[in-house]
Symmetry: C2
DNA sequence: TGTGATGTTGACTATTTGGTCAAGTTGTAT
DNA sequence: ATACAACTTGACCAAATAGTCAACATCACA
């Protein structure tokens, strides 16, 4: 049962922080959503910040591994699978946007611990995307190029596109941007 | 003196919200920074939210007009002036990022009034960039193309690049992305 | 079955939050 | 000079905030 309570807190924290930001996520709401009492929470975590950092690290790694790292473990069609993933709007929560981007925007210049944790996650994300491009080059799906810069550009367009949808309320912004990015990559 | 107090509040609110987000901006801090007492503030604004919305609208319009709209009022070199502006890192606050993007990320899915205000500002920004590209096409600096999508893509790359710097702590991300965008535009 | 470790409960606190208000000061026009 | 509007002051308030704690329950195991 131990992991149960902890995991319920991690899940609820992640959800509340994703929806409201770290500063906007009230402890009382997290506890209600998790169905856990305050004292129990302080048994597992030192404070709100430690719980949020744990939630972010655990849930985001999980998410990136599932979505992106899995592609590198296949045998071929690396590029196509990445394009498919980018094009798949059903997997995206356009209202809440990108969980990582939200927190980077909110916290990286406010708290050094968040800054460091988010930098690690962000760099890992970028490495995974670069790995996909490296495999694509290796497999002759893509001509040899600066895959590091390409992964940077890809993430920038992805994050920017998700932000744009939040700003305009128009999902078309996302699909347009993704197609422009894919066109760019095909023309390298 | 009337405009003085109001303006001090607008400036302080903008700064505090820019640094800490709307939810993280404490009224007490805004008042201290402005050197204005609470009662005075509530004489000029109905509440924190109205004051923040006023600050955002007034200060952001001012900023976009100064940076971007001014380009469209010149006679030529539209494209070059836009590229110069994008390349000018001295004008950017990489630690705090883009004021508009920060607020869109934080508030657009939390409050409908913020959502509407930010959408207007965001759309205006995009229109101004499109106007620059339209003038560039008209002036034969750029071949005829879908300037609307190009403005979308430009803003997405810009916002994404600023976010990336926050995420990685590396300003090179910004300059790399801007050069890739400029290369893309030159190759249209 | 008793004992210590692991986990749970919810009332309690101190502080900070946005917001109110009655009393005061200043400016301005007649 | 007077009167009225424009503006300022800071004490006060209720609600929400993160965090504490002593008592209690449950579990594993000797």
């Amino acid at each position: 049962m131990k992991e149960n309570t902890r995991q319920k807190l991690i899940n609820a924290t992640y959800e509340e922080v994703y929806s409201n930001g770290y500063q906007g996520a009230a402890l009382a709401d997290i506890l209600t959503k998790a169905g856990v009492h305050k004292g129990s929470m302080y048994y597992f975590f030192a404070n709100k910040k430690e719980m949020a950092l744990s939630a972010i690290q655990e849930k985001m790694s999980e998410r990136f591994d599932m979505l992106y790292l899995s592609i590198t473990k296949d045998e071929d069609n690396y590029l196509q699978k990445l394009f498919d993933l980018l094009r798949d709007t059903s997997r995206r929560d356009f209202s809440r946007g990108c969980p990582l981007a939200n927190l980077v925007q909110e916290m990286s210049n406010l708290d050094e611990d968040f800054n460091q944790a988010l930098q690690k996650i962000y760099n890992k994300f970028r490495e995974v995307v670069r790995l996909i491009y490296d495999k694509a080059v290796e497999n002759k799906e893509l001509v040899a190029c600066d895959t590091d810069k390409l992964s940077l550009f890809s993430i920038i367009v992805l994050e920017g596109a998700l932000l744009s949808v939040k700003g305009s309320g128009n999902i078309q912004d996302y699909t347009d941007a993704v197609e422009m990015l894919i066109e760019y990559i095909k023309n390298i």
